[in-house]
Amino acid sequence: MLELNILLIFMILGALIALEVKDLLSAVVALGASGLGLCIVFLILKAPDLAITQLVVEILCLIILIRATIKKDLPFSTSGRWVFNTIVSFVFIIIFLYLGYLAIKDLPPFGYPLMRISQFYLDHAKELVRSANLVSSIILNFRAYDTLGEATVLFASVVGVMTVMRKKGRKKLEEKEEDEL
């Protein structure tokens, strides 16, 4: 899996550039490079549905972020407890890396998963659902309630975005209509 490791390193480099570059638009574009690398990683990991979804979501995410960053400045201030904050952040990240390393060692090795639950889907999905695509048979049949919850979260988020981004409040609009009358 050499190509997988190379792509992961490419994604890490893209993320570092996205965080460190001064220009906000360049940062967003570097994040896009990282996300499209993730799309290719999904293809290598034999997940074509995920790769398609990731491609669409990545492009939408780029459009949203560019809308937020276009013609905006990036003030860089080193005031405050700069050294203290940096040291605390790095200590926390090193502790996190060490604990993650300890946890990873207890996982099954890469490429040999425990498939206790999924083996049922692999064996019976063909007779029970009659769908050629196992992923869609899981999200739309075996675990359809999970997809319902996802749709609920999605619409709640859309309502939240519309509420936050509305230019005029409803009360002001009503007052304006009364004034016109």
Binding site: M1, A15, L19, S34, A47, L65, K72, I104, V135, D146
Partner: protein, 116 residues
């Protein structure tokens, strides 16, 4: 470190890059970028756990020579998670745009000084 755990470890480093962005950056857009990176790393980790060496994608086809399939369950759940990630990103960016309109800056230290 054993070579078979290397993708997990690289994924962990990828997550830590995002964590660094969330913890250390002052600019709201940089914090959002760090959040998106964390989300990518979490999705990637779940798919990595379900990969089977030498397997093929979980699609039935009439004539198939490889019988092993990769684990379809993490893929189905990550498919849900990616879409929810887009929704949360849109919400956070919306709030950031409103903050910029109100305070005229993306710097979180200046925003906290103004106090509404």
């Amino acid at each position: 470190m054993n070579n078979s755990y290397l993708p997990y470890f690289l994924c962990l480093v990828f997550f830590c890059v995002g964590l660094y962005g969330v913890l250390r950056k002052r600019n709201i857009i940089k914090i959002i970028i760090g959040l998106v990176i964390c989300e990518y790393a979490a999705n990637l980790f779940l798919v990595l756990v379900g990969y089977k060496m030498g397997g093929r994608s979980p699609l039935y086809s009439p004539d198939q020579s490889i019988l092993d399939m990769v684990d379809p369950l993490p893929q189905a759940l990550v498919l849900t998670s990616i879409v929810i990630g887009l929704a949360t990103t849109a919400l956070v960016v919306g709030i950031a745009i409103r903050i910029y309109e109100k305070y005229g800056t993306f710097d979180i230290t200046k925003i906290s000084k103004l106090k509404g």
